[in-house]
Each structure stands twice: as C-alpha cells, then as structure tokens.
C-alpha cells in the first residue's frame, strides 16, 4: 500500500481508507512545490506531516482543500475525487481545516463565527428569512442553540457575544478549531496549530486534540514544527523536504532517521550524529 509506513498494527490496517493521495504534483510556474506525493489515511488515525520550512506541507493542505488545483495526481476522499471540486463542496463532503495564521471572521461575534459554518445546512430559504416565516424563526433558534451547545464544549459559551478578534490568542485557536468542527467533518486538517504557543499552552492543545478526536470520531492530519506536540500525539509521521517525501514511520523511527536529521539540521549535523 503506497503512502503508508510499514509496521503499523494489524488492527489499524484493518480500518477502512478515508483519504488516498497518489502521485500528487504541483508546479508554481517552474517551481515544483510538491512532487509525486503519496499519503493514505485510514479512519480514526492521527497523522503528522512534518518537514522544514518551505517543504510543501501547507501546499499539500491547500491542494486537499481545493485552494489550488493540482497539476497532476489524484486525491480521493471516501472514494470521491477532490481535484477539481470547489472548496466549499469539499468542506461539505466532510473535510475541515484550520490555518497556520489564524483566520477568524475577526469583526464578528464568537457565536456568529460558529453559526456561519452551519450556513449550508441552515434549513430555511431566502424567502423564509425575508418574510420572517415560522420556519425561519424555528430553524434560527435551533441553529443558535446548537451553536451554543457547541461553544459550551469548547468553554467559549460565556464569550459568545464577544468580538472574535478580541479574544486572547489561545482562545482564538480554540475558536478556529471549533468553527472547523462545526462543519461536521470526518477529516480535520490542522495547519501548525501550536504556532506561537508556549509549552503549557501546547500541553492544553494536545489535550484538546485528543478530546475532539474521541468526541467527534475524527481522523486528523496535522502539520507542525513543534516536536513536543508531534512526537507526543501522532501515531505516525510523513516527512517532506523540497516537495518530496523523504521518510515515513513511527515517531521514534523518524527521529532517528539520518535523512530527516539532515533535512532539518544540515549534513554536518547528520554526520556528527
């Protein structure tokens, strides 16, 4: 099976496939940002994608979520081809993501940030909202209540009417994850969730990731630089450098892989080690 490391437990390998990426290649002009990238995720896995700056990790995320259209290759999610599918449809199929630099709707309230994610399933039509029908009032009340329940899970309920941009950094991260989960995804893609966090905040974040994974039956793919996070929670890792996969394996295997050390620290360091 391509795109997976060897030596994973048989129980893991028995789970159904969720995401299959094969031969993914992306050019920006003459720059080859991603080359022949393979990755397969089975349901319920928590997998890390690591690599030095500029290795092409975020590009892979952007390709999965339809921000760019891949030059070649295929991305199948639950058997459906994602390349060529518009972003908002990919999200509605059950893929959700967060951003490296937090991108909240920062002038809207915390509650509205979550409610916007419910929009595709709001359940009332434009004429309902303009005429203020009973359907509008009922569905809107339901929707608000659901969003409030959701915020309660993330401990943000009491701040529902605060402007999102006014929250402290850690809570903004939390809200961004909450907003992504409000789209009801099966696959969650986290782009450097620990960026700018101190060790204590990272510990909290790890707790949060474990919690949502269990709570929402998620499969999680994350890009991260902070080894503390990656080594602790990821089941296995894929390492990229210059747009290509240079290693795959369990966290311990990857840490000792000379190619990986070289990519991060340079050839000298690899020899010294």
């Amino acid at each position: 099976m391509s795109g997976r490391p060897e030596g994973l437990a048989a129980t893991v390998e028995a789970r159904p496939l969720l995401l299959e990426i094969e031969g993914l290649t992306q050019f920006f002009g003459n720059l080859r940002a991603v080359h022949d990238f393979d990755l397969s995720l089975r349901k319920g896995e928590l997998v890390g994608l690591i690599g030095p700056n500029g290795a092409g990790k975020t590009t892979v995320f952007n390709l999965i979520t339809g921000v760019y259209r891949a030059s070649a290759g295929s991305i199948r999610f639950r058997g459906m081809e994602l390349i060529g599918t518009p972003s908002h449809e990919i999200i509605q199929l059950g893929v959700a993501r967060t951003f490296q630099n937090i991108r909240l709707f920062s002038k809207l309230t915390v509650l509205d940030n979550v409610r916007i994610a419910y929009h595709p399933h709001a359940g009332y039509s434009l004429s309902d909202s303009i005429l203020r029908t009973k359907n509008y009032r009922d569905k809107e009340a339901q929707l608000t209540e659901r969003a409030q329940d959701f915020l309660a899970i993330f401990g943000l309920e009491q701040r529902q009417n605060d402007i999102a941009g006014s929250l402290p950094y850690g809570l903004q991260r939390r809200l961004e994850i909450a907003r992504a989960l409000a789209t009801n995804p099966e696959l969650l893609i986290l782009d450097e969730p620990a960026a700018g966090m101190n060790p204590q905040e990272i510990d909290e974040l790890m707790g949060l990731i474990r919690f949502i994974r269990e709570q929402f039956n998620l499969t999680i793919l994350l890009v991260e630089h902070r080894m503390r996070l990656v080594m602790n929670i990821c089941e296995w890792l894929t390492v990229m450098d210059f747009g290509e996969v240079i290693a795959r394996g369990l966290p311990d295997q990857v840490r000792d892989n000379p190619l990986v050390v070289e990519a991060y620290l340079g050839r000298q360091a690899a020899i010294l080690k």
Partner: protein
C-alpha cells in the same frame, strides 16, 4: 402569542410619524416643489446607497456600477411609456409571473430530489422571470393586450394608474437585477479593486448606450442624448415611502439571517469563508443582485418624479454619489446610509444652492469636494460609525446560564451550573 419587540414598535412608529408629517406638509402646500424634489431625490439616492452598502459595506465588494443599474431602472420603465401603451408592462409582468410560478414548482422538485441550494434558486428565478417577460412581450402580447386593456379601462383611471405604476417599478427593478446578474457572473470573480474598475466601466457603458438609444439601440422614442420628455409624473410621497420601507426591511431581514452571516463572512475573510463551506460566488452574487434591484427601483421612482430623463444625469461623476453617501454614513451602517442619503442631496442641491450668494452657484463644486476632504480627515469612520437604530441592529443571542460539560457513559452532557 403576538410578541413585538419594543425596538420594532419604536422604529415603525417613528417612520409612520415621519410619513404623516410629510404628507400633511405636502397637502397643506408647505413644501414647495423644490423641497419636494429634494426629498424624493434624497429617498431615491438613499435606496441606491443602501444597495451599495449591502454590496460594499457588508459584502466588501467595491462597486461603482450602482448608478448604471439605477439608470437601467429609470430607462427601462420610461421607454415602455413612450411606445404609447401602458398595458405592455402589465403583459410582460404577467408573463413573468407565470414563468416564475412554473419555475418555482420545478425548483421545489429540484430541491426535494437533488437538493439544489437556496441562493442559486433565487438567482435562477430572477432569470426565469426575465425570460418570461421577454416571451410575454414578444409572443403573448397580441393575445393578452385586448383583455388587459379591457380590464384596465374598466377600472377607475386613478386605480389603473397605480396598478400600472406598480408593474412599471417592479419591471425596472427586475431588469436591473437581471443585468447585474449577467454582469456579475464573470466580473465578481475579480478581486475587489478590479471589480470596482469593471463596474465603473459598466456605468460608462450604460451612459453611452443611453446617449445612443436612437442610433445604436432601436428605441427611437428615447431620443438619445437629447433626453426623454413626457414621462408621467406619478411618484407620490406614499410610493416613495413604501419603496423606502420595503428596501430597509428586506435588507435588514436579509442581513440578520444565515445568508446575511454568509455575506458578512465573505467581507471578513473570503478564503476562510470558502473553507467553512460557504459558496463564495453565490454569497457575492446575491448581495450584488439584490443591491442592484434596489438601484433599479430607485431609478423608477426618480424618473417618474423628474418626468424628464437625460443621459447626463447618469454620467460617471454622478455615480460617485452613492459611494460618498455610504462612506459618509459609515460602511456597514444602514442607519448612516438612510440618513446621509437625504443629508447629501440636501447639502448638494438644497443648502449649497440656497446659501451661496447669487451668481456663485457653480462654487458648489468647489465647496463639496472640500466637505469631502474635511469629513474624511475628521471622521474617517463615517458620521454614524457602526451605530444602528435598535431595530436594525444585529440581534445578539441571549447568554445562557453557565454550563458545565461532562461525559456520562461516553455521552456528552451539558448541564446548567447551579449558583451557590
């Protein structure tokens, strides 16, 4: 069961009071034609500016094309008069309604079986209606016209006039909406600034077409750059008031719904909106079309007040008026736009004309850029900033009692915390 909020009552009460006062003043003859003109013009411009605020202030798309749609609304109605037959408009409108009805049935079926999205349906209704209009005018007219003329002639003349005027306004708004839809599809994918330039181009195109209605376009009655005369002066204060309220309420209800939140999210961060599942194209197209329908409606009101339509009143310098009003009133503030629209026309056409000494009227165009400059230096956030009348304010959900989140047998449970 009937539970009306205080803010709603206050708003409608205040509006009704304004309506009554103006109506009384008009019927006592205390407002002469000059002030009446300013009032009506102010209302029309406010409606255009509200539409622009929806597009620019709430959706973040910088449009200079609203005057083009305003012109379409005005011109569309008028040329129908000039071929001498009011029933034509009614015929067209009935055709549209029939097609719209059929389309609604098909749409319902589509939604049930294929789950086609709401906004898409709205916009395609619009196109279907336009198609119906065209079919009705071209094909059904000989059949329907005698019948309709019979009905219209049987009614008292005053009633007929109101009916025809209603259809005329609706048709103008409809055509502006369709034009904006067809124009918006290719252009809205452009980034904001480029979109602004493209819409400016649209305004200029409309102006040039109006200049050449008798040469390029086959509407000889419009007399091209010489301007149209003989438009019936049917706009009354009641019509102005009703249209104004309709626009305010539709816009408010739209903005406070889920669709409204989607519209706002596109302004905040387009990419992020896309990646929480919002169809950004639709969320841009919808406000653009709705805003342009408003502009078309305003055009109809204005044309039937002026009774004379000259292409020069739609040149591109004029097209900055709604933009100035929206920025003055405060981007994203409906209240600001509503009030500033009137203030701006009052300043430009009323105060400056009257205050400047005889012979200095042309100095208006020196004073008003100065006003712009001073305003932007002193209050860049607009006269009203983010202020809204309570009725127009975004509703805040009530804070629920503090809850704790716990798990019981693997099930998530949210319980209210009991205050100690």
């Amino acid at each position: 069961m009937i539970n009306i909020k205080k803010s709603t009552l206050t708003f409608f009460g205040a509006m009704l009071a304004i309506y009554v006062v103006v109506q009384v003043l008009l019927s006592l003859g205390l407002l002469n034609n000059f002030w009446r003109g300013i009032l009506f013009w102010g209302a029309a411009i406010s409606i255009v500016a509200l539409g622009l605020n929806l597009i620019y202030g709430f959706n973040g798309q910088f449009s200079l094309g609203q005057y083009g749609f305003y012109a379409i609304g005005a011109a569309d109605i008028t040329w129908r008069w000039l071929d001498g037959d009011p029933a034509g408009i009614v015929v067209g409108f009935f055709g549209s309604l029939v097609v719209l009805g059929l389309y609604a049935l098909v749409g319902m079926a589509l939604r049930r079986f294929y789950n086609i999205k709401v906004t898409t349906r709205f916009l395609s209704y619009l196109l279907a209606t336009g198609l119906g209009y065209w079919i009705a005018v071209v094909a059904l007219r000989p059949l329907l016209e005698p019948v309709l003329n019979g009905i219209l002639n049987a009614l008292p003349a005053a009633v007929t006039q109101q009916i025809v005027f209603f259809f005329a306004l609706a048709t103008g708004a409809l055509l502006a909406g369709i034009a904006s839809f067809l124009f918006g599809i290719p252009v809205l994918s452009l980034g904001s600034d480029y979109f602004g330039i493209a819409t400016l181009g649209f305004t200029i195109i409309v102006k040039v077409l109006l200049d050449n209605t008798d040469t390029i376009l086959p509407f000889g009655e419009m007399k091209g750059a010489r301007g149209m005369v003989g438009i019936p002066q049917w706009t009354t204060w009641t019509w102005v008031f009703l249209c104004f309220m309709l626009v305010v309420i539709v816009m408010r209800n739209l903005l406070h719904s889920s669709t409204g939140r989607a519209i706002l999210s596109v302004r905040e961060d387009e990419r992020a909106a896309q990646l929480v599942g919002i169809d950004v194209t639709q969320a841009k197209l919808l406000p653009f079309v709705v805003g342009s329908i408003f502009a078309g409606l305003a055009g109809g009101i204005r044309a039937h007040d002026l009774a004379f339509l000259h292409p020069q009143s739609f040149n591109f310098i004029q097209s900055f008026n709604p933009l100035i009003i929206v920025v003055f009133g405060g981007l994203g503030s409906m209240t600001g736009t509503m009030i500033t629209g009137f203030l701006w026309i009052l300043l430009l056409e009323g105060a400056l004309r009257l205050l400047l000494p005889q012979g200095f009227e042309t100095w208006r165009f020196v004073v008003y850029p100065l006003v712009l400059l001073i305003m932007m230096l002193l209050r860049p956030e607009g006269l009203f900033g983010k202020f809204e009348f309570p009725f127009l304010e975004r509703p805040m959900a009530k804070l629920r009692p503090k809850t704790t989140f716990s798990k019981v047998d693997g099930e998530a449970v949210i319980t209210e915390e009991v205050a100690q």
